[in-house]
Subunit: 212 residues, 4 copies
């Protein structure tokens, strides 16, 4: 039925709107600092209305978390031209990722800079949301290395370790953004990250960098 379809789309749309609002709200005041009312206000609803679309605040958090992870994962599904070297593919994918991070940097910083349940998470597993996300992203990245890099491409290292190192580097750079979100495009870090990834600090100095 058309009606049924349309309704579903309307609901999906509302959920998306709410999630977007939640992302903005969380990015601004953090997971704990943001009340359901805050999200509702940001989304143009009343708090009670959110419960039409989500069962609980936690479900909103989870949905948002999944949404962001999903975006991340999808970068790996995008087509990559054939015949590229590992180095080229690396640059391409890295670039795409940095663009995504650029888009989401506000939340990104929040998401990985806060946790809803506390460090090691209570014994109930509550609050592991973002830790899980963090790890899932690393896992996906590791998988990509596994499929795209020959052992010698990554120095014979375990792809998981490599993924962890790369992701960590990006996180370290991203963390700077906390103070000055407005300025500077995150994509600009692509060359540095690439160079460092492949050669560490022993990279042959390139003109542009050397002058710095």
């Amino acid at each position: 039925m058309k009606a049924g379809e349309r309704r579903e789309r309307v609901i999906a749309h509302a959920r998306t709107d709410i999630l977007d609002a939640a992302i903005r709200a969380f990015a601004r005041t953090g997971l704990h600092g943001t009340t359901v009312q805050d999200i509702a206000r940001e989304a143009g609803y009343t708090a009670a209305s959110l419960y039409t679309y989500f069962k609980s605040k936690q479900e909103i958090v989870d949905a948002m978390s999944n949404l962001l992870t999903e975006e991340y994962v999808q970068v790996f599904d995008q087509a990559v031209p054939a015949g590229l070297t590992f180095h080229q593919r690396f640059e391409l994918v890295l670039h795409r990722h940095l663009e995504l991070v650029e888009k989401r940097k506000n939340v990104f910083v929040t998401l990985f800079g806060e946790d809803s349940g506390g460090g090691l998470c209570g014994p109930d597993g509550h609050g592991k949301t973002f830790h899980t996300n963090f790890e899932r992203r690393i896992a996906v990245l590791a998988e990509w290395f596994h499929r795209n890099a020959r052992p010698e491409d990554i120095g014979g290292n375990d792809p998981k370790i490599i993924a962890r190192l790369l992701f960590g580097m990006a996180f370290g750079l991203l963390h700077e953004m906390r103070d000055n979100l407005q300025q500077g495009s995150f994509v600009n870090y692509a060359p540095i990250l690439t160079e460092f990834f492949f050669h560490g600090v022993s990279s042959k100095l390139k003109p542009g960098v050397r002058k710095k």
Copy 2:
């Protein structure tokens, strides 16, 4: 006055005890998940008593945060034998750091896996505690690079960037610990980090690593 001194020492001791308890408590249940009561119980006080030594929960958090940062900073103050190459000094300091991380693993993971006030921190500056800590460590590390590395030692890159990358890598590795804190010594990552830091994935494969 003798009495005055003694009292001060007693107070300082109590503060230390409380901070230690707080560290354990926070490591277990996170910043939000830990109540003042929890800290008090862990310290052998009642909640009300903590207010004799600290003005607020936030002050406890801050003091703990500073304590941890101070530990970190002191690693750089330890004597380093003269005549070492940059590479050697790097390894030495890295090793010391990893040992420290090892010791504080639990809190460390918590501290940087959660935030007390939320992502970008409310306009009141509340919750910036750990972000500040994160950044301060990076700053200290950058400073160390600045003083200990010639430009060519770090590929002509900005020490701040290098510091951020290195710190990020360590963070990436550390994050794994969340799931399995008990097993594996964090110090074992020293060779990998060193190798990656200097040569990225292009390191000449060493026998031990190659076999992996």
Copy 3:
């Protein structure tokens, strides 16, 4: 108007359906435990639709309450053969009542085991529904005694008191049903109630009872 009549009948039918559903729902989860949605679901409507037929939840409750009372009252309107002794009439009517209780056992237990507004009822008179019902039944019963029993038939007592005692006894027996609704027919209590009503514990022991 034919149309008008039909519409009225449709409306009346819907109201009946809803009340039946409400009875089932209330019997299952009680007055407070049952939401308007629950009733609607049970009736095959949406919650909003119920407001086409009833002004409020309270009105549903009241209507249901009245319905049940009405059923009860009608037992007294049923024909009773002429020439029966008081004892015989008593047994007949009691039997009919127990059958009714049997049928409504579930709700009955619920109705008198819970109240919608609280004990003595707020000053707004809210929640008196079932109290009123309780009392109305007793009143009807008292009235029946008044019309059917000579003073000496009921020991010269006030019919109202007698009605209250009898109704209370039945209630006491009924309350047991809360735990085991499925088993045992309530009608089986008729002889015991009758015997006790007429002779208290001083009844001449009948064989069947004595053996128990």
Copy 4:
């Protein structure tokens, strides 16, 4: 230590005060109609303070319920002069009970006129508090009959049934109080109940009653 004892007594006293307040509040507005704030106000506390003494509203309800049952049970523990006939003992105990009911009639009516969870109680057993109480009282009463009445004293009937009938009768009389709590002493019903219990409506008319 004296201090420890005194504190315990203070706490016990506070709990008692709160329970008394709760009883008054519940008697006035019912279980659902009474908020934690209401109880607190009645007890001279703030709502938050109640949680120093009780874990939850439900715990208050349970404690009150137990308190009332306990009072009831204790009536049976009071000494009864030796050498009394069953009839005499019955009258004595009945009288004591009616006095107790008199004292608690407000709540009593509420307690058994409302239920916190709904009729048959959710599958979680929640809300059975008062049903359980009802049944426990009957059980205690039945036990008393079992120990104090020879089979022929109660017409060879099952003590449980007899207890249920008696308790029901009292309940029926009590229910009248809902409307006019102020007037009339419940104890006045003792003769009627006794007479009815022993002889049903067939009691030999006594002067006082006959005139009514």
